[in-house]
Symmetry: C2
């Protein structure tokens, strides 16, 4: 484990780097760079930052991830959900457009990077598991709706604010008189074009004889076409003079060296949002990375991923960026384009650096409405309400978690939505295990098998009650078993022996141990024997560290069949 | 379930009430009444209330519990831990000795009664299970220390304040100059006498030929002797004039009719403490009631207990009392004295009512130091640090919960102590289940049994990996299994089939379902089959509601032996 290659995966793939890898990586890098330029500008706008911040946030982070990350194809940079979380977190501490806002973004990236690094070094990646699939799915769907709505003001050309659905709707309605019809025309044209490209361009290209791979990449180029066409339109017809908001002057520069703030007030206010961004970004990134790695039988180390993403965010904090993570769409493009190693990311960073110093004057006339359209079309694919139907069919508890997360995220904002979702998932899990399935079993005649007496024709003995406990015993359900046995034995006074069949009991904690002792003492007071059967090795080891086995009013049987033979017919 | 006897247990035992029950109950009532007089005064002092409040809190509540409760022997009234919680809760909203303080106590009893009734009607008694045994044990021990320390000021005759160990110690040290040496002499004499009575009186009485039952009851009368003797001493030697604090004038009256306050600020401030008092009081009371019921093969209905305790607290709120619950020592005395039905409680209430109107002038000269001594000696039996040793030997997680609860209760107060204890228990449980025991198993030669390949000599097949999962699969551990299988299969490229042996899997939630689907898809991409074996009925029913079984890259086998036969040797 002290192998430096574990902490610097670049040492692993770097030594076998060859000409073929180089050419594959270069091709992927060119394609990804072209795709990333409009995407980076758009996510910067979503985060409430100037457009160049999006480009900067794609350069240093991608290089640092290439050095420290374990995925061969993951592309790191600004992504929709993390940009929304950034806007929400910073919106509480600074006014958009001020210097304080940009510094807060750097600070948030710094804190997020620090948290990720710390979790990675302490190997605490499993904490991300507290976000259940229903909570993540509900959160992503609600975020998609909030993101689309937050960008809709740019399509209408109005100003509107808010971090929750009611706030946004109310603010938009209050500003409806500001609508700029030309902006709206540009915005809706861009949305219409992008939706058409997404659904129809690829089949069309295929029909006119273009190969599938090329057709796929041309279809992915839709946003670039929308950017170029709408920029030309604004420039040609002087739409700026008619009130269409444009990107305007963007500095022509490599990423600057920047410093986050360490003011205790600001750090205190951003710590919880930074934790949330870290965990959500990590979960999103790792699931993309694992999906892509599996396709090539490669392996992702989640704890090392935390270090890679932590380094990327620290990079963003010191080079004028904002919080980043591994993005789904850009990683898939990178993978499909044939990226063989993380070097593809390094070449992409170089391409973006060239764009930052040379191409920025060309986007002066780019309308904000076009960027908003690319965001809206991109995030609508995140909105998947079918999760409600799927979980409803599978389990009411999971459905409750999804529905609560969606409603609370939309109604009260992203932080409360995710927090409540996690709390609800945990409580539902505890509730489910608090009333475990306990079956009273009897012998299936002619076999050594025992089955539920209410479902099967089985032999029973009025002096012997055998209960199969289908859950680990721990504090939340310990007393349930006490009550159950007490009520079963108090009502059946012919009972002489109780056997607990422990084949599905994976743990007995101290509370459950005390309950077992109480059950044993109470049954003893009633003159009833308490026996255990089919106790697993690790559970038995632990029980042997206490006095419960030596004080047991009965025996421990290796198999339930042995218990049946020894105890039946003692009435 | 609509049987009125379920909601009014009095209808059940009342109709078979006879002369023998009456005489048993009367004898028990006389003994309990004598014991309760000093105890009630003392716990009122602990709660920061005037002494009569303790008597009032023992009258109406005991009658209401007799009507609605299910335990035949439980004696309801003020108890040490709940009195401490009351003092801590009210201390934050009112000054001790003011009218607002007494009203806050009534309000707290009212809220607590309302919460208990609500939990009972909604049948939510299982919520009390969130308090694990380690948390309760740690909390009771820490509370005993805090209670003893809070009463020590009365022994020294100084004024001191605080709700945490450091606050109390600091305040006592700051007021050490106020020490009254005569008070100290009275206090330490009382403590010494009570400790001697507790340890030595019963054996002594036995030796001089008194029967065991009578000796036991005489020994329990120690506090009454201390009260009488010290009252006489103060009166005879005019110790009041020498600075010894006495109980003073106590109104000679039946419990008054009182009204709690419904001021929103006060209710808001007391709601969380009331919840805490309800839950802790309920847990303490139910465990006493169950222990006593088991000795006579009787049954306690925990949800009906909530209703009984709720009614008792509402009774306290409207008759000048404060929060109450079923007490351990008084219930055991009641049981041992032969109480046959809850009518014993009603007679005890009558005895206390007589005491309230006739005996109160006699306690004018009772020194506070004697009451403090009875509390200190009583609660020292609650302090049981051996729980630290027991849990250390059994499980580090349980030890951590105990130690954290003790330290946080002592250091930061009762509310934070219990809250943190519950949170820590839940997190430790989630942590333990987040990394479940998963064993790779092989066939024990000549049998149909499968055992861990690292512990036993078993047959294995390089093309077939069988993993036995010893835990329910849910969101906290879903991704663990994904990572585990990915790493096992990525490193063993000869693997053609993976079998998951599900005999100990009691649940698969939606997150785990998605993980199974992801595992299935990834193994599919690698050309590896995924199979399940020995899936339980309820788990299989649920999996069949999703598409995972039809999309499975393999089969579901009824037994692991079938899976082995079908899949071995496919390299």
């Amino acid at each position: 484990m002290t192998n430096p290659r574990r902490f610097l995966p670049i040492l692993d793939w770097g030594r076998s780097y060859d000409r073929s890898s180089f050419s594959n990586d270069m091709i992927a890098a060119v394609i990804v760079t072209i795709m990333l330029i409009p995407q980076s500008l758009a996510y910067a706008m979503l985060a409430g930052l100037p457009p160049e911040a999006g480009i900067y946030a794609s350069i240093a982070p991608i290089v640092l991830y290439a050095v420290f990350g374990t995925s061969r194809a993951l592309a790191v940079g600004p992504v929709a959900v993390v940009s929304l979380l950034t806007a929400s977190a910073i919106g509480h501490v600074a006014e958009q457009g001020t210097a304080g806002y940009a510094v807060a973004a750097l600070t948030l990236a710094f804190l997020s990077g620090g948290i990720l690094l710390l979790l990675g070094v302490l190997r605490l990646g499993f904490l991300a598991n507290f976000l259940s699939h229903p909570v993540i799915a509900g959160f992503i769907t609600a975020s998609g709706i909030l993101i689309a709505l937050s960008q809709f003001k740019h399509i209408l050309g109005i100003s509107a604010y808010g971090h929750t659905l009611p706030e946004m709707l109310w603010s938009m309605i209050a500003h409806l008189d500001q609508i700029n019809w030309i902006t709206m025309a540009v915005g809706f044209s861009a949305i219409g074009f992008l939706v058409w490209v997404r659904g129809n361009l690829k089949p069309l290209l295929r029909r006119i004889g273009i190969g599938p791979t090329l057709a796929d990449f041309l279809a992915k180029g839709g946003p670039v076409v929308a950017v170029v066409a709408s920029t030309l339109a604004v420039w040609s017809f002087d739409l700026e003079g008619l009130g269409v908001q444009i990107v305007g002057a963007v500095p022509q520069s490599l990423p600057p060296l920047t410093l986050p703030s360490f003011a205790p007030d600001l750090v205190g206010a951003l710590l919880v949002p930074a934790l949330l961004i870290s965990v959500i970004g990590f979960v999103e990134s790792v699931s993309v990375a694992q999906t892509l790695a599996a396709k090539k039988r490669q392996r992702i180390d989640p704890d090392q991923e935390l270090i890679g993403l932590g380094a990327a965010n620290l990079g963003a904090a010191f080079t004028g960026g904002f919080p980043v993570t591994g993005g789904f769409s850009r990683s898939v493009v990178n993978f499909d384009a044939g990226a063989a190693t993380p070097a593809a990311g390094i070449y992409t960073a170089m391409g973006l650096a060239v764009a930052a110093v040379s191409l920025t004057p060309l986007i002066y006339y780019l309308p904000n409405a076009t960027l908003a359209a690319t965001i809206i079309v991109a995030v609508l694919s995140l909105v998947d309400l079918s999760i409600l139907k799927k979980t409803w069919g599978y389990s009411r508890a999971d459905f409750t978690a999804v529905a609560a997360t969606i409603l609370l995220t939309l109604g009260l904002g992203v932080e409360i939505g995710v927090g409540a979702g996690v709390a609800i998932s945990v409580l539902l899990h505890l509730y489910k295990t608090s009333r475990p399935h306990v079956a009273e079993v009897g012998l299936v005649p002619g076999t050594q098998h025992f089955r539920n007496i209410h479902r099967h024709e089985v032999e029973i003995d009025p002096s012997l009650v055998t209960l199969r406990v289908d859950e680990s015993l721990y504090f939340v359900n310990a007393r349930f078993l006490e009550d159950l046995i007490q009520s079963r034995v108090a009502t059946g006074s012919a009972v002489k022996n109780v056997v607990l069949l422990f084949s599905a009991v994976n743990e007995v904690d101290y509370s459950a141990l005390e309950s077992l002792e109480a059950i044993n003492a109470r049954l003893g007071d009633m003159g009833v024997g308490l026996h255990l059967s089919e106790v697993k090795g690790p559970v038995m080891d632990r029980l042997n560290r206490s006095h419960v086995i030596e004080q047991l009013n009965g025996e421990v049987f290796l198999s339930q069949f042995d218990a049946w033979h020894a105890l039946k017919g003692q009435s």
